[in-house]
Amino acid sequence: MISVQRRSGSSLSWNVACYSAAMICAFLTSAALLAFSGGDPAKAFSALLTGAFGSQNALYGSLAKATPLLLVGLGTVIAFRAKIWNIGQEGQVFAGAMAAYWMSLWVAPLPYWLAWLLIAIAGLVGGGVLGLLAGYLKVRFGTSEVISTVMLNYIVIYILAYLLDGGPWMESGLTVAYHQSSPVNPLLEWPILLGQGSGKMHIGFILALAAAAFCAVLLEKTSLGYEIRAFGSNPTALRFRGTNIRRLLLVVMLLSGALAGLAGAGELFGTSHRLRAETLLGIGSSGIVVAMVGGLRPSGVMLAALFFGALKSGAIYMRLKSGTPAGLVSAMEGLVLLFFLCAAVATKLQLVRVEEKVHA
């Protein structure tokens, strides 16, 4: 008889086996889904791969898509490691983009590097303040951050709708129907480091990598990281041992929101160059998926962001080439998450052979 038991340590080979199995399962179920919806899985997957890695530009495009996911994922890691369930990344991405856009209306006369810095900071502050607001509601009134962050998403998204649909930021000379702002001042666009045409990787990718290194060091090496991890394990003991856990919670929400806000700013000034809800929608929720798949570790999040970036980038090509419905890509994302979460549980278990009891 084989019995399933908790594993006392962790084993690298078993981890690899679990996550490989998860990948294969996600791949097979996605293929089944494609076949069911009338597509040709082989054709679709080859289109997906070509779209993601087929050329240098495709590769840069994948990195560009990975950039906001990595930043949001890192913000999620900071919060989730403290077991603070910030799931308002959508709104924080929007708030970051909006704050950065607002800043760009003022800083054009300044030297480029200063303007760039101020825009990036505005993005951080925009997302951070929104996170901080949810944190304040929790500290002051005991509001669950799960509820408040999600509700704030709606508030922020509708504020943007107001600003763009007949509000002060509506593109001049156009009707409401476009729901978008005028293009940002071209002089303020973030520098493109690699690629051209459809596949351009902007400086935000470097920022995101730096943020990943920052988060890894923060969590594992610093006193603040110690407190964040301790908060996630046992906030009561931390409070008994002299840490102001209210302040800590605010700091975590600020950091978490700021990283999402930077993702919004980067997306606006590096990729879309126009404030528009559709280009920002879904980054927050995908970023949470990336954080979970990455095992809430900055290094894992980096890999997961690259994977999901490639998936998103390849999906565009797949849709054009094989006519698969757009919704399938979200479904595939969901399947990957589902199987990875299963794998994460499986890594903590082991199979043990148990001798059968012999009854007299």
């Binding site: 006392s8 006193s223 110690y226 991890r229 394990s233 008994f240 002299g242 840490t243 102001n244 001798e355």
Partner: protein, 513 residues
């Protein structure tokens, strides 16, 4: 034909082994329990008492070995199986519905309850049970109105109502006053004379000596099963630890001098705004251990929280070394050199997912001595952890192994190591030996007395009254948030303490310093 004398065996355990990973919690355990006997399982922490009882009650499935109940091999896959066979268990933490009546709690979940409760039939049965065992309880009171001791009777009645012939009691006196414990033992012996068998898990010698036989476990193995009447407390202890244990006593040549902590008229509210501390005043001098005796839940926890700065006093206050402490925070108290050993060690004293090394600096993670620039000095933490693991004899695979995987005694050693390292002047210890075995407790006491010798003021709350009497310079008794009196050990008896702990206003001579 000569018939041998048959002692009727109710339960027979043969060669039972239960492993957790590489560790054998029970290693070839064999034991038999006779009909109508009180059989004690005695052993240190981690000796395998709880695992064995969990196997008997169907929580765990033994890896190998056999459990024979009433002459038949018992297949115990769940507590429901155990109950069906007639094995009941009363846990340390009661599983009662607090706004149900006694009767409702007893009959809830029993198989003869249909859609509609037939209470009159059940009542007759329960009343009969009460009479048989000599339990005097009002069946219509709700659980929350009962004392802890009475709640325990309800648990016992529940098991008996379900038809238990073998009752397992897991450290039943941990939450009782001495008087309540005596009552419990009267009930248990009543049950024995009705032919019921009782397995009593305990590490208190006084209780062990009231059993018929005792099986001593050490490191998962049975050391011996002895007839209690033919043995002595010393012999049984020696069997349990494998060597002789020195009991520490305070050094009377060192005398307390100079008040260090002065608590004046402290009142405080509990989590539901109820009054938990009422006008508490006392002093502790340097070189003094002040004991705090009381049944758990009489305000000890809140008193420690006030002194630690995590609960605000609603009036009154305290001073430390002559300096009044105003609106303290836990940060300030730590910085003032107060060491704190909380009673709920995994909830209030440790970060379960952290290893020993990181837990040793909990509260001091920002202290310059453990940092290098903005970073925690991991190397220094590692060196410190290895030193303390050795000094405090913490049994752990490594300094990084999460402390949630340590036994209660080892986790406590990690806390002690941290507090003794950082405290300067005042040590607050709430139930530091709760759940620890004799040897581990003595280790804690030895360390506390070392601090006393070094000039510390120590507040030591404990339910082990014998220990308080030999360790403390004075003992304060707390009942319902009020200090009932402060007595000197040499002028007081266990009985006096018990009376005061139960709220007896007839205080023994009150000693005022």
């Amino acid at each position: 034909m000569v018939r041998p004398v048959v002692v009727e065996e109710l339960l027979k355990v043969q060669n039972l082994t239960k492993r957790f990973g590489a560790v054998a919690a029970n290693d070839g355990v064999s034991l038999d329990v006779r009909k109508g006997e009180i059989h004690c399982l005695f052993g240190e922490n981690g000796a395998g008492k709880s695992t064995l009882s969990a196997c008997l009650y169907g929580y765990y499935r033994a890896d190998s070995g056999e459990i024979v109940f009433k002459g038949k091999t018992a297949e115990l896959n769940s507590p429901a199986d155990a109950l069906r066979l007639g094995i009941g268990m009363v846990h340390q933490h009661f599983v009662l519905v607090s706004n149900f009546t006694v009767l409702e709690n007893i009959i809830v979940g029993s198989s003869d309850v249909g859609v509609f409760l037939n209470k009159s039939e059940a009542r007759r049965k329960v009343v009969a049970l009460c009479q048989e065992c000599g339990i005097d309880i009002d069946l219509d009171r709700e659980i929350w109105q009962l004392s802890v001791g009475e709640q325990q009777w309800v648990e016992i009645l529940k098991a008996l109502y379900f038809g238990a012939e073998l009752l397992i009691l897991d450290e039943p006196t941990a939450v009782l006053t001495p008087q309540q414990s005596d009552q419990l033992f009267r009930i248990i012996s009543g049950m024995r004379s009705r032919g019921l068998s009782i397995i009593l898990i305990s590490h208190k010698l006084r209780e062990v000596m009231q059993s018929d036989r005792v099986t001593i476990l050490r490191k998962g193995k049975v050391v011996a099963t002895v007839e209690t009447a033919g043995s002595t407390a010393e012999a049984i202890t020696a069997l349990m630890v494998g060597h002789k244990v020195t009991k520490h006593v305070r050094d009377r040549t060192v005398t307390p001098a100079g008040d260090f902590l002065s608590v004046r008229n402290v009142c405080a509210k509990g989590d539901w705004a109820e009054d938990v501390l009422k006008d508490v005043s006392f002093d502790i001098a340097k070189h003094e251990v002040l004991g705090l005796a009381g049944v758990a839940g009489n305000g000890q926890k809140e008193l420690f929280e006030v002194l630690m700065g995590v609960r605000a006093a609603s009036s009154g206050g305290f001073s430390l070394d002559g300096e009044a402490i105003v609106a303290p925070t836990s940060r300030e108290m730590l910085d003032r050199g107060v060491g704190f050993v909380p009673d709920d060690r995994f909830r209030e004293g440790l970060i379960p997912e952290f290893g020993t090394a990181e837990n040793l600096v909990l509260g001091w993670q920002r202290a310059p001595e453990y940092r290098r620039g903005p970073f925690l000095d991991r190397r220094k933490l590692g060196v410190l952890a290895r030193k303390k693991i050795e000094e405090f004899k913490v049994v752990t695979a490594s300094a990084e192994l999460p402390v949630e995987r340590l036994s209660g005694g080892n986790a406590q050693r990690v806390i002690l190591a941290r507090e003794f390292l950082h405290a300067r002047g005042l040590l607050l210890a709430n139930q530091p030996t709760r759940g620890l075995d004799v040897a581990a407790s003595e280790f804690v006491y030895e360390k506390i007395l070392e601090k006393r010798a070094a000039g510390f003021a120590v507040l030591l709350a404990s339910e082990e009254l014998d220990d308080l009497l030999r360790l403390c310079d004075r003992i304060a008794v707390i009942f319902k948030g009020r200090i009932m009196g402060i007595v000197r050990p040499e002028e007081t008896s266990l009985l006096d303490l018990g009376m005061m702990m139960a709220g007896d206003a007839k205080e023994p001579e009150r000693t005022v310093q």
